[in-house]
Symmetry: C2
Amino acid sequence: MAAPSPTEPAGWPLDDRGAAYGDGLFETLLVRAGRPLLWDEHLARLARGCHALGIPMPPEHDLAAPLAEAGPGLEVLKLTLTRGSGGRGYRPPAAPAPRLRWQLAAFVPDSGRWWNGVRVRLCRLRLGLQPALAGIKHLNRLENVLARSEWQDDAIAEGLLEDAEGRLVEATAMNLFWRRHGRLETPRLGRCGVAGTLREALMGCLSLHEVDAGLEALMEAEAVWLGNSVQGVWPVAHLEDVEGRGLAVWPVGAAHRAFQAEAHALLGYPCLP
Amino acid sequence: MAAPSPTEPAGWPLDDRGAAYGDGLFETLLVRAGRPLLWDEHLARLARGCHALGIPMPPEHDLAAPLAEAGPGLEVLKLTLTRGSGGRGYRPPAAPAPRLRWQLAAFVPDSGRWWNGVRVRLCRLRLGLQPALAGIKHLNRLENVLARSEWQDDAIAEGLLEDAEGRLVEATAMNLFWRRHGRLETPRLGRCGVAGTLREALMGCLSLHEVDAGLEALMEAEAVWLGNSVQGVWPVAHLEDVEGRGLAVWPVGAAHRAFQAEAHALLGYPCLP
Protein backbone atom coordinates (compact mmCIF):
# COMPACT_ATOMS: atom_id res chain seq x y z
CA MET A 1 0.00 0.00 0.00
CA ALA A 2 2.94 2.35 0.56
CA ALA A 3 5.68 2.97 -2.00
CA PRO A 4 5.04 2.38 -5.68
CA SER A 5 6.63 -0.95 -6.50
CA PRO A 6 8.32 -1.71 -9.83
CA THR A 7 5.20 -3.54 -10.98
CA GLU A 8 2.86 -0.67 -10.09
CA PRO A 9 2.90 2.69 -11.83
CA ALA A 10 4.00 5.54 -9.58
CA GLY A 11 0.97 7.67 -10.32
CA TRP A 12 -2.79 7.40 -9.94
CA PRO A 13 -5.02 5.11 -12.02
CA LEU A 14 -7.54 6.92 -14.19
CA ASP A 15 -10.41 5.69 -12.02
CA ASP A 16 -8.90 6.77 -8.69
CA ARG A 17 -11.46 8.78 -6.74
CA GLY A 18 -8.79 11.20 -5.54
CA ALA A 19 -8.06 12.23 -9.11
CA ALA A 20 -11.74 12.14 -10.09
CA TYR A 21 -13.34 14.02 -7.18
CA GLY A 22 -10.56 15.06 -4.81
CA ASP A 23 -11.90 12.22 -2.68
CA GLY A 24 -8.95 11.94 -0.30
CA LEU A 25 -6.55 13.62 2.10
CA PHE A 26 -2.93 14.64 2.30
CA GLU A 27 -0.23 15.50 4.81
CA THR A 28 2.95 17.44 4.10
CA LEU A 29 5.56 17.01 6.79
CA LEU A 30 9.09 18.01 7.63
CA VAL A 31 11.60 15.19 7.93
CA ARG A 32 14.96 15.82 9.57
CA ALA A 33 17.53 13.06 9.07
CA GLY A 34 14.76 10.52 8.61
CA ARG A 35 12.80 11.66 11.67
CA PRO A 36 9.34 13.15 10.99
CA LEU A 37 8.49 16.31 12.92
CA LEU A 38 5.07 16.63 14.60
CA TRP A 39 4.33 13.06 13.57
CA ASP A 40 1.62 12.56 16.18
CA GLU A 41 -0.16 15.73 15.08
CA HIS A 42 -0.01 14.67 11.42
CA LEU A 43 -1.38 11.20 12.24
CA ALA A 44 -4.14 12.72 14.37
CA ARG A 45 -5.24 15.11 11.61
CA LEU A 46 -5.18 12.36 9.00
CA ALA A 47 -7.31 10.20 11.31
CA ARG A 48 -9.79 13.08 11.76
CA GLY A 49 -9.94 13.46 7.98
CA CYS A 50 -10.48 9.72 7.48
CA HIS A 51 -13.29 9.82 10.00
CA ALA A 52 -14.94 12.84 8.34
CA LEU A 53 -14.78 11.28 4.86
CA GLY A 54 -15.41 7.66 5.86
CA ILE A 55 -12.05 6.42 4.54
CA PRO A 56 -10.33 3.66 6.55
CA MET A 57 -7.20 5.01 8.30
CA PRO A 58 -4.11 3.09 7.15
CA PRO A 59 -1.92 1.48 9.80
CA GLU A 60 0.86 3.73 11.09
CA HIS A 61 3.38 1.23 9.76
CA ASP A 62 2.30 1.90 6.17
CA LEU A 63 2.32 5.66 6.64
CA ALA A 64 5.82 5.58 8.13
CA ALA A 65 7.29 3.26 5.47
CA PRO A 66 8.57 6.07 3.19
CA LEU A 67 10.72 7.41 6.05
CA ALA A 68 13.09 4.51 5.40
CA GLU A 69 13.94 6.20 2.11
CA ALA A 70 14.85 9.54 3.71
CA GLY A 71 18.41 10.86 3.54
CA PRO A 72 20.50 12.56 6.22
CA GLY A 73 19.33 16.14 5.56
CA LEU A 74 16.10 18.10 5.65
CA GLU A 75 13.29 16.78 3.47
CA VAL A 76 9.58 17.18 2.95
CA LEU A 77 7.37 14.11 2.79
CA LYS A 78 3.99 14.38 1.14
CA LEU A 79 1.57 11.55 1.90
CA THR A 80 -1.61 11.39 -0.19
CA LEU A 81 -4.40 8.99 0.74
CA THR A 82 -7.42 8.52 -1.50
CA ARG A 83 -10.57 6.41 -1.20
CA GLY A 84 -9.13 4.33 -4.05
CA SER A 85 -11.14 3.17 -7.06
CA GLY A 86 -14.71 1.99 -7.33
CA GLY A 87 -18.16 3.09 -6.40
CA ARG A 88 -20.64 4.41 -8.91
CA GLY A 89 -20.24 8.07 -9.75
CA TYR A 90 -20.11 10.05 -6.53
CA ARG A 91 -21.33 7.06 -4.55
CA PRO A 92 -18.38 5.58 -2.64
CA PRO A 93 -17.73 1.84 -2.72
CA ALA A 94 -19.21 -0.01 0.26
CA ALA A 95 -15.77 -1.36 1.19
CA PRO A 96 -13.18 1.15 -0.01
CA ALA A 97 -9.60 0.02 -0.63
CA PRO A 98 -7.71 3.26 0.05
CA ARG A 99 -4.67 4.12 -2.04
CA LEU A 100 -1.56 5.69 -0.50
CA ARG A 101 1.18 7.44 -2.46
CA TRP A 102 4.13 9.46 -1.27
CA GLN A 103 6.69 11.95 -2.51
CA LEU A 104 9.90 12.78 -0.68
CA ALA A 105 12.01 15.78 -1.70
CA ALA A 106 14.99 17.64 -0.32
CA PHE A 107 13.92 20.88 1.36
CA VAL A 108 15.44 24.24 2.25
CA PRO A 109 13.18 26.62 4.21
CA ASP A 110 12.80 30.18 2.92
CA SER A 111 14.61 31.13 6.10
CA GLY A 112 16.79 34.13 5.35
CA ARG A 113 14.00 35.88 3.54
CA TRP A 114 10.90 35.05 5.51
CA TRP A 115 11.89 34.25 9.09
CA ASN A 116 12.78 37.94 9.53
CA GLY A 117 9.44 39.33 8.40
CA VAL A 118 7.14 39.07 5.39
CA ARG A 119 4.82 41.13 3.24
CA VAL A 120 1.33 39.68 3.18
CA ARG A 121 -1.67 40.59 1.09
CA LEU A 122 -5.38 40.24 1.68
CA CYS A 123 -7.01 37.92 -0.90
CA ARG A 124 -10.11 38.85 -2.84
CA LEU A 125 -11.47 35.29 -2.74
CA ARG A 126 -13.41 34.47 0.39
CA LEU A 127 -13.60 30.92 1.71
CA GLY A 128 -17.01 29.28 1.55
CA LEU A 129 -18.43 27.86 4.78
CA GLN A 130 -18.57 24.07 4.91
CA PRO A 131 -18.43 22.67 8.45
CA ALA A 132 -18.43 19.07 7.10
CA LEU A 133 -14.98 19.66 5.56
CA ALA A 134 -13.53 22.29 7.89
CA GLY A 135 -10.21 21.68 9.61
CA ILE A 136 -9.18 18.56 7.69
CA LYS A 137 -6.60 18.52 4.90
CA HIS A 138 -8.65 17.11 2.05
CA LEU A 139 -7.84 17.19 -1.65
CA ASN A 140 -10.48 19.78 -2.63
CA ARG A 141 -8.15 22.75 -2.70
CA LEU A 142 -9.36 24.90 -5.57
CA GLU A 143 -10.09 27.80 -3.24
CA ASN A 144 -6.43 27.80 -2.16
CA VAL A 145 -5.27 27.56 -5.77
CA LEU A 146 -7.49 30.47 -6.85
CA ALA A 147 -6.40 32.57 -3.87
CA ARG A 148 -2.71 31.88 -4.57
CA SER A 149 -3.30 32.91 -8.20
CA GLU A 150 -4.23 36.43 -7.14
CA TRP A 151 -0.66 37.73 -7.02
CA GLN A 152 2.56 37.11 -8.98
CA ASP A 153 4.87 39.47 -7.10
CA ASP A 154 7.51 37.29 -5.39
CA ALA A 155 8.02 39.95 -2.71
CA ILE A 156 4.60 39.00 -1.32
CA ALA A 157 5.01 35.88 0.81
CA GLU A 158 1.42 34.93 1.46
CA GLY A 159 -2.22 35.94 1.10
CA LEU A 160 -4.69 36.23 3.97
CA LEU A 161 -8.10 34.63 3.59
CA GLU A 162 -11.36 35.73 5.15
CA ASP A 163 -14.48 33.58 5.08
CA ALA A 164 -17.67 34.49 3.23
CA GLU A 165 -18.86 36.41 6.29
CA GLY A 166 -15.65 38.41 6.76
CA ARG A 167 -13.98 36.46 9.54
CA LEU A 168 -10.22 35.88 9.35
CA VAL A 169 -9.37 32.22 8.66
CA GLU A 170 -5.79 31.52 7.51
CA ALA A 171 -3.29 32.24 4.75
CA THR A 172 -3.34 30.18 1.53
CA ALA A 173 -0.94 27.56 2.96
CA MET A 174 -0.30 28.68 6.56
CA ASN A 175 -2.19 29.35 9.75
CA LEU A 176 -2.56 32.81 11.19
CA PHE A 177 -1.69 33.95 14.74
CA TRP A 178 -1.60 37.34 16.45
CA ARG A 179 -1.08 38.91 19.87
CA ARG A 180 -3.67 41.49 20.90
CA HIS A 181 -3.65 43.23 24.30
CA GLY A 182 -1.05 40.68 25.35
CA ARG A 183 -3.24 37.68 24.41
CA LEU A 184 -2.26 35.12 21.74
CA GLU A 185 -5.12 34.41 19.32
CA THR A 186 -5.77 32.35 16.19
CA PRO A 187 -8.95 31.99 14.11
CA ARG A 188 -11.44 29.28 15.04
CA LEU A 189 -11.61 26.77 12.15
CA GLY A 190 -15.00 25.11 12.57
CA ARG A 191 -16.53 26.50 9.36
CA CYS A 192 -13.62 26.41 6.89
CA GLY A 193 -9.83 26.40 6.76
CA VAL A 194 -7.18 23.80 7.56
CA ALA A 195 -6.15 23.15 11.16
CA GLY A 196 -2.37 23.05 10.78
CA THR A 197 -0.28 20.64 12.81
CA LEU A 198 2.07 23.39 14.01
CA ARG A 199 -0.99 25.33 15.21
CA GLU A 200 -2.20 22.18 16.96
CA ALA A 201 1.16 21.62 18.66
CA LEU A 202 1.39 25.29 19.73
CA MET A 203 -2.07 25.07 21.28
CA GLY A 204 -0.66 22.29 23.43
CA CYS A 205 2.22 24.33 24.79
CA LEU A 206 1.05 27.96 24.74
CA SER A 207 -2.02 29.77 25.91
CA LEU A 208 -3.42 30.27 22.41
CA HIS A 209 -7.09 31.29 22.12
CA GLU A 210 -9.32 30.35 19.18
CA VAL A 211 -11.49 33.32 18.26
CA ASP A 212 -13.97 34.58 15.65
CA ALA A 213 -12.52 37.89 14.49
CA GLY A 214 -12.35 40.10 11.45
CA LEU A 215 -9.56 42.22 10.04
CA GLU A 216 -10.00 44.70 12.89
CA ALA A 217 -8.28 42.18 15.20
CA LEU A 218 -5.08 42.58 13.18
CA MET A 219 -5.37 46.38 13.34
CA GLU A 220 -5.32 46.08 17.13
CA ALA A 221 -2.52 43.48 17.21
CA GLU A 222 0.95 44.08 18.60
CA ALA A 223 2.37 41.23 16.50
CA VAL A 224 1.10 38.95 13.71
CA TRP A 225 2.55 35.66 12.43
CA LEU A 226 1.99 33.00 9.81
CA GLY A 227 3.19 29.47 10.41
CA ASN A 228 3.11 25.89 9.29
CA SER A 229 4.92 22.67 10.09
CA VAL A 230 7.25 22.88 7.08
CA GLN A 231 8.26 26.55 6.85
CA GLY A 232 8.18 27.41 10.55
CA VAL A 233 6.99 30.88 11.59
CA TRP A 234 7.08 34.06 9.54
CA PRO A 235 6.51 37.35 11.38
CA VAL A 236 4.17 39.57 9.37
CA ALA A 237 5.87 42.94 8.79
CA HIS A 238 3.57 44.48 6.16
CA LEU A 239 -0.09 43.86 5.42
CA GLU A 240 -1.66 45.12 2.19
CA ASP A 241 -5.23 45.16 0.95
CA VAL A 242 -6.48 43.49 -2.25
CA GLU A 243 -5.30 46.47 -4.30
CA GLY A 244 -1.81 46.41 -2.79
CA ARG A 245 -2.39 49.46 -0.55
CA GLY A 246 -0.68 49.31 2.86
CA LEU A 247 -2.99 48.42 5.75
CA ALA A 248 -0.51 47.94 8.61
CA VAL A 249 3.17 47.67 9.45
CA TRP A 250 4.67 45.78 12.42
CA PRO A 251 8.35 46.25 13.23
CA VAL A 252 9.72 42.76 13.95
CA GLY A 253 10.84 42.71 17.59
CA ALA A 254 11.19 40.63 20.71
CA ALA A 255 7.48 39.72 20.88
CA HIS A 256 7.74 38.18 17.41
CA ARG A 257 10.85 36.28 18.31
CA ALA A 258 9.45 34.70 21.46
CA PHE A 259 6.51 33.08 19.64
CA GLN A 260 8.72 32.09 16.72
CA ALA A 261 11.20 30.44 19.11
CA GLU A 262 8.43 28.29 20.64
CA ALA A 263 7.39 27.10 17.19
CA HIS A 264 10.91 26.59 15.90
CA ALA A 265 11.81 24.48 18.91
CA LEU A 266 9.09 22.05 17.77
CA LEU A 267 10.58 21.84 14.30
CA GLY A 268 14.30 21.97 15.05
CA TYR A 269 14.62 25.39 13.44
CA PRO A 270 16.80 28.08 15.04
CA CYS A 271 15.73 30.77 17.48
CA LEU A 272 16.52 34.10 15.87
CA PRO A 273 17.98 36.99 17.82
CA MET B 1 -2.71 15.34 -25.36
CA ALA B 2 -5.74 13.07 -25.85
CA ALA B 3 -5.61 9.30 -25.54
CA PRO B 4 -2.93 7.65 -23.46
CA SER B 5 -0.35 6.36 -25.92
CA PRO B 6 1.59 3.12 -25.39
CA THR B 7 4.56 5.17 -24.17
CA GLU B 8 2.50 7.16 -21.67
CA PRO B 9 0.78 5.58 -18.66
CA ALA B 10 -2.99 5.72 -18.79
CA GLY B 11 -3.35 7.38 -15.40
CA TRP B 12 -2.23 10.58 -13.74
CA PRO B 13 1.36 11.34 -12.74
CA LEU B 14 1.90 11.76 -9.01
CA ASP B 15 2.52 15.49 -9.43
CA ASP B 16 -0.58 16.21 -11.49
CA ARG B 17 -2.46 19.13 -9.96
CA GLY B 18 -5.79 17.47 -10.64
CA ALA B 19 -4.87 14.58 -8.37
CA ALA B 20 -3.16 16.86 -5.83
CA TYR B 21 -5.74 19.64 -5.46
CA GLY B 22 -8.67 18.79 -7.70
CA ASP B 23 -7.23 21.52 -9.93
CA GLY B 24 -9.20 20.71 -13.05
CA LEU B 25 -12.55 20.09 -14.71
CA PHE B 26 -14.55 17.25 -16.20
CA GLU B 27 -17.42 16.57 -18.57
CA THR B 28 -19.50 13.40 -18.72
CA LEU B 29 -21.42 13.06 -21.95
CA LEU B 30 -23.73 10.71 -23.73
CA VAL B 31 -22.46 9.30 -27.02
CA ARG B 32 -24.88 7.60 -29.43
CA ALA B 33 -23.21 5.65 -32.23
CA GLY B 34 -20.14 7.86 -31.99
CA ARG B 35 -22.12 11.11 -31.98
CA PRO B 36 -21.87 13.19 -28.77
CA LEU B 37 -25.13 14.62 -27.47
CA LEU B 38 -25.29 18.29 -26.36
CA TRP B 39 -21.69 18.70 -27.56
CA ASP B 40 -21.93 22.48 -27.86
CA GLU B 41 -23.26 22.78 -24.31
CA HIS B 42 -20.46 20.56 -22.95
CA LEU B 43 -17.82 22.58 -24.80
CA ALA B 44 -19.33 25.83 -23.56
CA ARG B 45 -19.35 24.68 -19.93
CA LEU B 46 -15.79 23.41 -20.16
CA ALA B 47 -14.74 26.76 -21.62
CA ARG B 48 -16.46 28.60 -18.76
CA GLY B 49 -14.63 26.36 -16.29
CA CYS B 50 -11.29 26.96 -18.00
CA HIS B 51 -11.92 30.69 -17.84
CA ALA B 52 -12.85 30.56 -14.14
CA LEU B 53 -9.78 28.51 -13.21
CA GLY B 54 -7.31 30.09 -15.66
CA ILE B 55 -6.64 26.82 -17.49
CA PRO B 56 -6.11 27.05 -21.27
CA MET B 57 -9.06 25.51 -23.15
CA PRO B 58 -7.87 22.63 -25.37
CA PRO B 59 -8.72 22.76 -29.07
CA GLU B 60 -12.02 21.08 -29.95
CA HIS B 61 -10.10 18.65 -32.13
CA ASP B 62 -8.32 17.19 -29.07
CA LEU B 63 -11.53 16.99 -27.05
CA ALA B 64 -13.34 15.19 -29.87
CA ALA B 65 -10.53 12.71 -30.58
CA PRO B 66 -11.86 9.94 -28.26
CA LEU B 67 -15.11 9.86 -30.25
CA ALA B 68 -13.21 7.99 -32.95
CA GLU B 69 -12.98 5.07 -30.51
CA ALA B 70 -16.72 4.93 -29.89
CA GLY B 71 -18.73 1.89 -30.92
CA PRO B 72 -22.16 1.67 -32.56
CA GLY B 73 -24.20 1.69 -29.33
CA LEU B 74 -24.82 4.01 -26.41
CA GLU B 75 -21.74 5.05 -24.44
CA VAL B 76 -20.66 7.59 -21.86
CA LEU B 77 -17.51 9.59 -22.45
CA LYS B 78 -15.80 11.19 -19.49
CA LEU B 79 -13.28 13.91 -20.33
CA THR B 80 -11.05 15.12 -17.50
CA LEU B 81 -8.85 18.17 -17.96
CA THR B 82 -6.34 19.23 -15.31
CA ARG B 83 -3.94 22.15 -15.04
CA GLY B 84 -1.17 19.55 -15.50
CA SER B 85 2.00 19.43 -13.40
CA GLY B 86 4.14 22.20 -12.01
CA GLY B 87 3.83 25.33 -9.97
CA ARG B 88 4.92 25.55 -6.35
CA GLY B 89 2.40 24.24 -3.87
CA TYR B 90 -0.96 25.84 -4.56
CA ARG B 91 0.67 28.42 -6.85
CA PRO B 92 -0.14 27.46 -10.44
CA PRO B 93 2.63 27.39 -13.05
CA ALA B 94 2.90 30.61 -15.06
CA ALA B 95 2.39 28.68 -18.31
CA PRO B 96 0.31 25.60 -17.50
CA ALA B 97 0.44 22.56 -19.81
CA PRO B 98 -3.04 21.09 -19.24
CA ARG B 99 -3.45 17.33 -19.21
CA LEU B 100 -6.45 15.64 -20.84
CA ARG B 101 -7.56 12.06 -20.15
CA TRP B 102 -10.68 10.24 -21.21
CA GLN B 103 -12.71 7.16 -20.40
CA LEU B 104 -15.34 5.66 -22.69
CA ALA B 105 -17.74 3.02 -21.41
CA ALA B 106 -20.86 1.28 -22.69
CA PHE B 107 -23.97 2.72 -21.07
CA VAL B 108 -27.55 1.65 -20.35
CA PRO B 109 -29.78 4.30 -18.77
CA ASP B 110 -31.72 3.36 -15.64
CA SER B 111 -34.76 3.77 -17.85
CA GLY B 112 -37.32 1.22 -16.81
CA ARG B 113 -36.88 2.05 -13.16
CA TRP B 114 -36.37 5.78 -13.09
CA TRP B 115 -38.02 7.30 -16.16
CA ASN B 116 -41.39 6.39 -14.64
CA GLY B 117 -40.86 8.10 -11.31
CA VAL B 118 -38.29 8.09 -8.49
CA ARG B 119 -38.02 8.31 -4.74
CA VAL B 120 -35.81 11.20 -3.67
CA ARG B 121 -34.47 12.12 -0.28
CA LEU B 122 -33.40 15.42 1.21
CA CYS B 123 -29.69 15.43 2.13
CA ARG B 124 -28.41 16.51 5.51
CA LEU B 125 -25.30 18.11 4.00
CA ARG B 126 -25.78 21.65 2.80
CA LEU B 127 -23.70 23.08 -0.03
CA GLY B 128 -21.30 25.85 0.93
CA LEU B 129 -21.57 29.12 -1.00
CA GLN B 130 -18.63 29.82 -3.31
CA PRO B 131 -19.53 32.05 -6.25
CA ALA B 132 -15.98 31.70 -7.69
CA LEU B 133 -16.63 27.99 -8.36
CA ALA B 134 -20.40 27.93 -8.85
CA GLY B 135 -21.87 26.49 -12.04
CA ILE B 136 -18.70 24.92 -13.42
CA LYS B 137 -17.91 21.19 -13.30
CA HIS B 138 -14.62 21.25 -11.40
CA LEU B 139 -12.89 18.33 -9.69
CA ASN B 140 -13.59 19.45 -6.08
CA ARG B 141 -16.57 17.20 -5.53
CA LEU B 142 -16.29 16.10 -1.90
CA GLU B 143 -19.62 17.73 -1.06
CA ASN B 144 -21.31 15.54 -3.68
CA VAL B 145 -19.48 12.44 -2.41
CA LEU B 146 -20.49 13.13 1.20
CA ALA B 147 -24.08 13.83 0.20
CA ARG B 148 -24.24 10.61 -1.85
CA SER B 149 -22.90 8.70 1.17
CA GLU B 150 -25.95 9.63 3.24
CA TRP B 151 -28.09 6.75 1.99
CA GLN B 152 -27.47 3.13 0.96
CA ASP B 153 -31.06 2.17 0.07
CA ASP B 154 -31.09 1.44 -3.67
CA ALA B 155 -34.78 2.34 -3.84
CA ILE B 156 -33.79 5.99 -3.33
CA ALA B 157 -32.66 7.36 -6.68
CA GLU B 158 -31.19 10.69 -5.67
CA GLY B 159 -30.67 13.18 -2.84
CA LEU B 160 -31.76 16.83 -2.93
CA LEU B 161 -29.27 19.46 -1.83
CA GLU B 162 -30.00 22.81 -0.25
CA ASP B 163 -27.36 25.48 0.19
CA ALA B 164 -26.08 26.71 3.55
CA GLU B 165 -28.91 29.26 3.63
CA GLY B 166 -31.68 26.77 2.84
CA ARG B 167 -32.22 27.44 -0.85
CA LEU B 168 -32.78 24.46 -3.16
CA VAL B 169 -29.81 23.87 -5.48
CA GLU B 170 -29.71 20.47 -7.22
CA ALA B 171 -29.49 16.73 -6.60
CA THR B 172 -26.10 15.08 -6.00
CA ALA B 173 -25.57 14.42 -9.73
CA MET B 174 -28.62 15.98 -11.43
CA ASN B 175 -30.33 19.31 -11.81
CA LEU B 176 -33.72 20.02 -10.30
CA PHE B 177 -36.81 21.36 -12.08
CA TRP B 178 -40.41 21.88 -11.05
CA ARG B 179 -43.67 23.38 -12.29
CA ARG B 180 -45.46 25.69 -9.88
CA HIS B 181 -48.70 27.55 -10.75
CA GLY B 182 -48.06 26.49 -14.35
CA ARG B 183 -44.55 28.01 -14.44
CA LEU B 184 -41.39 25.94 -15.04
CA GLU B 185 -38.66 26.78 -12.53
CA THR B 186 -35.13 25.64 -11.65
CA PRO B 187 -32.75 26.89 -8.95
CA ARG B 188 -30.42 29.76 -9.77
CA LEU B 189 -26.82 28.47 -9.59
CA GLY B 190 -24.73 31.58 -8.97
CA ARG B 191 -23.57 30.62 -5.47
CA CYS B 192 -23.03 26.85 -5.73
CA GLY B 193 -24.09 23.83 -7.74
CA VAL B 194 -23.31 22.60 -11.24
CA ALA B 195 -25.08 24.07 -14.25
CA GLY B 196 -25.92 20.91 -16.17
CA THR B 197 -25.81 20.83 -19.93
CA LEU B 198 -29.32 19.38 -20.22
CA ARG B 199 -30.57 22.25 -18.03
CA GLU B 200 -28.71 24.67 -20.31
CA ALA B 201 -30.22 23.16 -23.44
CA LEU B 202 -33.74 23.15 -21.92
CA MET B 203 -33.38 26.84 -21.05
CA GLY B 204 -32.81 27.42 -24.75
CA CYS B 205 -36.02 25.72 -25.86
CA LEU B 206 -38.46 26.14 -22.94
CA SER B 207 -39.59 29.02 -20.80
CA LEU B 208 -37.65 27.90 -17.74
CA HIS B 209 -37.18 30.45 -14.94
CA GLU B 210 -34.15 30.51 -12.62
CA VAL B 211 -35.30 31.25 -9.09
CA ASP B 212 -34.11 31.42 -5.49
CA ALA B 213 -36.47 29.15 -3.58
CA GLY B 214 -36.56 26.85 -0.60
CA LEU B 215 -38.29 23.55 -0.04
CA GLU B 216 -41.67 25.31 0.13
CA ALA B 217 -41.49 25.71 -3.66
CA LEU B 218 -41.66 21.93 -4.05
CA MET B 219 -44.61 21.75 -1.64
CA GLU B 220 -46.46 24.09 -4.01
CA ALA B 221 -45.32 22.28 -7.19
CA GLU B 222 -47.60 20.36 -9.53
CA ALA B 223 -44.66 18.34 -10.86
CA VAL B 224 -40.97 17.90 -9.98
CA TRP B 225 -38.14 16.43 -12.07
CA LEU B 226 -34.47 15.61 -11.91
CA GLY B 227 -32.41 15.53 -15.06
CA ASN B 228 -28.97 15.34 -16.58
CA SER B 229 -27.46 14.85 -20.00
CA VAL B 230 -26.68 11.16 -19.44
CA GLN B 231 -29.72 9.75 -17.60
CA GLY B 232 -32.39 11.98 -19.13
CA VAL B 233 -35.31 13.10 -16.96
CA TRP B 234 -36.67 11.34 -13.87
CA PRO B 235 -40.08 12.47 -12.60
CA VAL B 236 -39.99 12.77 -8.81
CA ALA B 237 -42.80 10.65 -7.36
CA HIS B 238 -41.86 10.62 -3.65
CA LEU B 239 -39.87 13.11 -1.59
CA GLU B 240 -38.59 12.21 1.89
CA ASP B 241 -36.88 14.23 4.58
CA VAL B 242 -33.44 13.46 6.04
CA GLU B 243 -34.99 10.91 8.41
CA GLY B 244 -36.82 9.11 5.60
CA ARG B 245 -40.25 10.54 6.51
CA GLY B 246 -42.50 11.30 3.54
CA LEU B 247 -42.73 14.99 2.59
CA ALA B 248 -44.67 14.86 -0.66
CA VAL B 249 -46.03 12.55 -3.33
CA TRP B 250 -46.66 13.44 -6.98
CA PRO B 251 -48.58 11.01 -9.22
CA VAL B 252 -46.67 10.85 -12.49
CA GLY B 253 -48.95 12.19 -15.22
CA ALA B 254 -49.18 14.12 -18.48
CA ALA B 255 -47.45 17.22 -17.07
CA HIS B 256 -44.40 15.11 -16.20
CA ARG B 257 -44.35 13.46 -19.58
CA ALA B 258 -44.44 16.73 -21.57
CA PHE B 259 -41.30 18.09 -19.92
CA GLN B 260 -39.57 14.72 -20.08
CA ALA B 261 -40.35 14.45 -23.80
CA GLU B 262 -38.68 17.84 -24.47
CA ALA B 263 -35.54 16.68 -22.67
CA HIS B 264 -35.51 13.22 -24.18
CA ALA B 265 -35.79 14.65 -27.67
CA LEU B 266 -32.47 16.40 -27.04
CA LEU B 267 -30.83 13.12 -26.00
CA GLY B 268 -32.46 10.66 -28.40
CA TYR B 269 -34.34 8.98 -25.55
CA PRO B 270 -37.97 7.89 -26.01
CA CYS B 271 -41.10 9.88 -25.17
CA LEU B 272 -43.05 7.86 -22.62
CA PRO B 273 -46.81 7.53 -22.75
